[in-house]
C-alpha cells in the first residue's frame, strides 16, 4: 500500500470563545493516500470544517492546536514556520471553497486571478495564461478565452465552481481539499461538478478530500469515508461498507434519516432525537450515547475504537452488534 500523503494524528483543537473553551476536534485521525478520494461527512458543528482548515492551517485566530499533528509526506506542517506553511498552500495543498462567489476577487478578471495564482511558478505570463486556458478546457468551460476576460459576477455559480476547481489545480497540488463543493449549487449543476471531480481523479495523482454533509455526494464520489460527530471521528470505512454495513449507531441513523434513501414515499421520516453535546464541556463517555437508540450503562464510559476490518473501525462499545437494530428503532 502507498505511504500516506497526508496523516492527521490524534488532533485536538480548542476554540477560545467568549463563553469558555470549546473542544472542536477531539483526537481526530485521518489518513489519505495518493489516488484516493476521501469523504469527511457529518452534520453542522461536528468539526469537519475545522479538520479541513487544519490541513492547510487556515484555522481562525481563536483556534489552538492543543495536541496532535498534521503530517504531509511525513512532515508535521503545523510545526513549520509560517513561510514554509505558506509555500505549501496552493502549491502542494489546494482548497476548493463552498461559496465560489467569495473565493474570487470581484474586481479582477478570471484571467488576471488565474495568472496571479501561479506567482510562484518560474514561467512567463503567456505560459501562465496558456496553462490557465488548458485547465479551463479540462474542467469543461465552453469558451475558455471568453472566461479569462470575465469578472466573477458574470459567471453562474456552477461556472464559478468549475473555475475554482481549475484554479485549485493550477499548481498541480498533491492534496486537493474540497469543502462542501456542491452545497451552493442546484442539483443539475451538483451532478455536473460530481462528474467533473470523478473524472479528474482518473488522471490526478494526488489525494482528494471532500468535506460534505450530503450523503449522496459521498456515495457518488468517495472511496473511503470518515464520519464525524461532536469533534470525533466515530467511524471510518470504505464507502460500500459505510452504506451497507455501518458499525456506528450514528452512521446508521444518519443514513436512515436521509430521505433520498427510500425508494417509496414514507409519511413519517426517521429523525435523531436530542441534540449535540455541549463541546465546552464534552461528555466523558460516548458523545452520541444520549441520542443513541441502543445505548446502555456501559456507554457512560469512554468507548473503544473497535477495528472491524483493516479498513473499517468504529468508536463504539457495541460496534460489533450494530445493525438493523438502529434503523428499526428510529422509525
Amino acid at each position: 500500500m502507498n505511504p500516506p500523503l497526508l496523516e492527521i494524528d490524534a488532533l485536538n483543537i480548542t476554540y477560545h470563545t467568549d463563553h469558555g473553551k470549546l473542544s472542536a476536534l477531539r483526537g481526530a485521525s485521518l489518513i489519505a493516500r495518493a489516488g484516493e478520494v476521501i469523504g469527511i461527512v457529518g452534520e453542522s458543528g461536528c468539526g469537519k470544517s475545522t479538520l479541513a482548515a487544519s490541513v492547510i492551517n487556515l484555522l481562525p485566530q481563536a483556534a489552538e492546536v492543543t495536541s496532535g499533528a498534521v503530517r504531509y509526506k511525513g512532515q508535521d506542517i503545523l510545526a513549520l514556520p509560517p513561510d514554509a506553511q505558506r509555500a505549501l498552500r496552493g502549491q502542494d495543498i489546494a482548497m476548493i471553497f463552498q461559496d465560489p462567489m467569495t473565493a474570487f476577487n470581484p474586481v479582477l478578471t478570471m484571467g488576471a486571478q488565474l495568472v496571479d495564482f501561479q506567482h510562484a511558478a518560474q514561467i512567463s505570463r503567456a505560459e501562465k495564461l496558456n496553462r490557465a486556458r488548458a485547465l479551463l478546457v479540462r474542467v469543461g468551460m465552453p469558451d475558455p478565452d471568453l472566461t479569462l476576460r470575465r469578472y466573477p459576477h458574470q459567471l453562474s455559480g456552477g461556472m464559478r465552481q468549475r473555475v475554482a476547481i481549475a484554479a485549485a489545480l493550477l499548481m498541480n497540488p498533491t492534496i486537493l481539499v474540497a469543502d462542501e463543493p456542491t452545497t451552493a449549487l442546484d442539483v443539475t449543476m451538483e451532478a455536473q461538478i460530481i462528474h467533473l471531480l470523478r473524472d479528474l481523479r482518473r488522471d490526478y495523482q494526488g489525494a482528494i478530500l471532500v468535506i460534505t454533509h450530503h450523503l449522496g455526494v459521498v456515495a457518488e464520489l468517495c472511496d473511503r469515508v470518515y464520519v464525524m460527530y461532536a469533534g470525533e471521528v466515530v467511524e471510518e470505512a470504505l464507502v460500500d461498507d459505510l452504506f451497507h454495513a455501518p458499525r456506528h449507531p450514528y452512521t446508521s441513523a444518519l443514513i436512515a434519516c436521509d430521505p433520498g434513501h427510500f425508494d417509496e414515499p414514507t409519511p413519517i421520516l426517521p429523525t435523531i432525537p436530542g441534540r449535540l453535546p455541549d463541546l465546552r464541556n464534552p461528555p466523558i463517555g460516548c458523545s452520541f450515547a444520549p441520542r443513541c437508540p441502543i445505548a446502555s450503562d456501559i456507554c457512560a464510559t469512554r468507548p473503544p475504537r473497535v477495528q472491524i476490518s483493516p479498513t473499517q473501525s468504529a468508536l463504539c462499545h457495541k460496534a460489533l452488534h450494530v445493525g438493523q437494530l438502529v434503523t428499526e428503532s428510529l422509525l
Binding site: 442539483v187 443539475t188 451532478a191 454533509h213 449522496g216 457518488e220 452504506f243 436521509d258 421520516l269
Partner: protein
C-alpha cells in the same frame, strides 16, 4: 371544490431603461419571470413545487399571496377571485407563509411570544391568555420559549417557531418556501413530520417550494416541476417520480445523488445550464438543453397537455407512461 385555483398567471417585470426608453416608452424591454402558470390545490392537499434557482418558484409563491403584482391571469382562493390589494388583504388571515430563512424572518428585537401574537394584533383577533403556550405546544416547544429571542434558537427551533407563527390565525393554506433549507438531515425529518402531523390535524393545504427532490417526494401528494418560469409537468408524486414524462423532469430526477454507492450514476443526466431570463429561448423553454429537441420545439411553444388522467406535461413529444402504476 378547490381551495386555490390559478389560471394562466404571468409576471413581466419592466427592465430599467436608458434615456431612449424614457423618450419612447414603447422601446422598453421587460423581463418575463413566469408565464402561463395554471394549477389547482384542493383542501387538505400538499403540492410540491420544485425547480432550480431562477426558475421563478419563490416569485410565484409571493404572487399567489398578492405580495408581488402579476401582469396576466387570475387567482381564485375560496372560489373568490383575488386581484386587488384589498382582495389579498381579505384572504391573508387564511393564508400563511413560512419564509426561506427561518431566523431572519423573525424580528430580532421581539420575543417569541410577541412574534406569535403579532398576527392576531394585525388582524384584530382576540388573544386568549393561553394562546402563546398553546401555539408553542402545537409545534412541540416548551412554554418558556415565549420569553426567548430569535438569536437564542437553533435552526430547527426557529423553524418550529416559523410553523407556529404561520398557524396562529388558523389558515387553510400554508406556503412553505424551502422549509428545511439549511437544516441537518436529522432535524429535517422532525420539521417535515411536524408539518405532516399538523396537516392532518388541522386539515391544512400546503404549497411546498423546494429544490430538494428527495424531501418533496415524501411530503407531497402532487408535484409541479418548474423550469425557467413555466410549469413543465404536474402530476401525482408517486407516478411522476416513478416515470417522469417531461425530458426536464426526467433529467432533474436522474441528477439527484443517491445515498448508495452501488447506484452511482455513470452517465451525466443533464448538460449545460439554465439559460438567463434575459435570453429566454423562444417556443419551448427547455430546447437549449433537451436531447430530444426537434425543429418544432424552436417554433411552436408547447402547451401543458393532460397526457393521462391527472398528469399534465408541457412537451410536444410527451407520451402516456408505459406499464401500470398502482
Amino acid at each position: 371544490m378547490t381551495l386555490l385555483s390559478v389560471q394562466n398567471l404571468a409576471l413581466d417585470l419592466p427592465l430599467p431603461g436608458g434615456l431612449m426608453s424614457a423618450l419612447n416608452p414603447k422601446s422598453r424591454r421587460s423581463l418575463q419571470i413566469f408565464a402561463d402558470v395554471s394549477f389547482t390545490l384542493n383542501p387538505g392537499e400538499t403540492l410540491g413545487l420544485v425547480g432550480e434557482s431562477g426558475s421563478g418558484k419563490t416569485t410565484l409563491a409571493r404572487a399567489l399571496l398578492g405580495l408581488t403584482p402579476t401582469t396576466h391571469g387570475t387567482i381564485h382562493f375560496d372560489d373568490l377571485q383575488r386581484s386587488t390589494p384589498a382582495d389579498f388583504a381579505a384572504m391573508r388571515g387564511r393564508t400563511a407563509m413560512m419564509f426561506q430563512d427561518a431566523i431572519a424572518s423573525l424580528s430580532p428585537r421581539m420575543t417569541i411570544g410577541a412574534l406569535l401574537t403579532e398576527p392576531l394584533t394585525i388582524h384584530g383577533q382576540p388573544r386568549t391568555p393561553t394562546k402563546i403556550a398553546d401555539m408553542l405546544a402545537l409545534v412541540g416547544l416548551p412554554p418558556d420559549f415565549a420569553n426567548r429571542y430569535p438569536h437564542e434558537l437553533s435552526g430547527g427551533q426557529a423553524r418550529r417557531v416559523g410553523v407556529a407563527r404561520a398557524l396562529v390565525l388558523n389558515p387553510k393554506l400554508v406556503i412553505a418556501d424551502e422549509p428545511t433549507a439549511g437544516l441537518d438531515v436529522s432535524v429535517q425529518g422532525e420539521i417535515l413530520n411536524l408539518m405532516t402531523d399538523l396537516k392532518t390535524r388541522l386539515n391544512l393545504s400546503y404549497l411546498i417550494i423546494s429544490h430538494n427532490l428527495a424531501m418533496v417526494r415524501h411530503v407531497s401528494d402532487r408535484i409541479a416541476v418548474m423550469y425557467l418560469g413555466r410549469l413543465v409537468e404536474i402530476g401525482p408524486t408517486r407516478q411522476t417520480f416513478a416515470q417522469p414524462l417531461h425530458p426536464y423532469s426526467q433529467r432533474l430526477i436522474a441528477s439527484e445523488p443517491l445515498p448508495d454507492p452501488r447506484k452511482r450514476r455513470e452517465d451525466l443526466a443533464i448538460k449545460g445550464e439554465i439559460p438567463s431570463l434575459l435570453n429566454r429561448p423562444k417556443a419551448c423553454v427547455f430546447q437549449s438543453r433537451c436531447p430530444l429537441v426537434q425543429p418544432i420545439c424552436r417554433n411552436i411553444p408547447p402547451e401543458l397537455r393532460e397526457i393521462t388522467p391527472h398528469r399534465f406535461v408541457r412537451c410536444h413529444f410527451a407520451e402516456p407512461p408505459t406499464g401500470a402504476f398502482p
